[in-house]
Symmetry: C2
Subunit: 221 residues, 2 copies
């Protein structure tokens, strides 16, 4: 089965790629630049594609950045908030409609490449802040896409981790031999993971909850 | 009400813009370049925005062109088919998932600009070939978007012509004083409308069925 996997280079999407590879999928990675500060994540995605023998396509949506401004992830005038993901200030990290845009592009590519699946690594830890990571969104998107490409392709949307916690992802990844040190999360995109932004806090917590050694180097210990 | 109107520069979307203006909407145009041969349509969109006092934003999705290849509209190796829209060869003019991609971007912009509506000018003449122009697609997309931006925006999808024929659009446009000569349809994007490609055949037929004078200059009479 040919699958278009949306891979950011973070631990969730990289684990998903390893899992799909284990299941025998023929993988085509799709990564997106959209003006994010942590653009270095994409190099981790590319390296993962190389390790897994997947094709790699980078879609440059950065011309959209100006129009979708107002997120700390793309707007240098807004500081990346620190603290836990569930806090209200993490709303600043929302890029409007990001997942719908990326998924719609992925379905276009899937039809063009005659793939059978689009896979995204949204997980339960994202549900509180990001509406476009929730199971009901995934189901509605899949339903919409079946109508959108009816007669031109037969592509299903798969979100294997939609009900996993990030700790569950760590546990699965460890069992698959995912090299977590070769993944990137930090929204600030510095030389090392900052250890303080929402995604760093969540990353560190996930290893703790899973009872796994965290190979990540954090600036703030 | 602030409305993001997807305007290509063709007669349908330009008529929609005039209609929304008549209803008092504050209009923000969103136009897309995606590697289409008939990129000149976008200049007609820009001029329409100027006439109506709308803001105009052009989104360059042409980096996607290579990934979404296989359509005669974007691939110079494939000839634009001639004849009537309902013919099977018009399938060559499908750009995979084009409307879902454009609409998803439009909803992102709508949230960023705090608009209340996204409007698209799909019409009944498109239904046979293009699944992403059908009423059930529009309804499913709207449902998906309400989930995708829940808590961040309240944006509805409007497709006022989804059950109009193109002749109905001509009739409405004429009543609104739409300068049809200042709109562009032809997929070939030459100096004049070719008169033979699917959209030219449909354009000419729409004026005839509406009993209106067609101001378009066609190379093939």
């Amino acid at each position: 089965m040919k699958t278009i996997a949306i891979v950011s280079g973070g631990m969730d999407s990289v684990t998903m790629a390893y899992w799909l590879k284990e299941l025998g999928h023929e993988l085509s990675f799709l990564s997106f630049s959209y003006g994010q500060r942590h653009v270095k994540e994409l190099e981790f995605a590319r390296q993962c594609a190389n390790r897994l023998g997947a094709t790699f396509n980078l879609v440059d949506l950065s011309p959209l950045g100006k129009l979708l401004s107002g997120s700390a992830l793309t707007d240098n005038a807004i500081a990346v908030p620190e603290g836990h993901y569930e806090a209200e200030n993490m709303r600043l990290t929302v890029v409007p409609n990001r997942n719908a845009i990326m998924l719609a592009v992925a379905f276009g590519v899937a039809v063009a490449e005659q793939a059978s699946m689009v896979a995204t690594a949204v997980h339960a830890g994202d549900h509180h802040i990001y509406p476009d990571c929730r199971p009901e969104f995934i189901a509605a998107f899949d339903a919409m896409q079946r109508l959108a490409v009816a007669g031109f392709g037969d592509v299903e949307l798969e979100a294997p981790f939609v009900n996993y916690t990030k700790a569950d992802v760590v546990t699965l990844g460890a069992s698959l031999g995912v090299p977590f040190a070769e993944t990137w999360s930090c929204y600030k995109g510095g030389a090392e993971h900052c250890g303080k932004c929402g995604t760093c806090v969540e990353r560190r917590e996930a290893f703790q909850l899973a009872g796994m050694t965290d190979p990540t180097i954090y600036t703030s210990r």
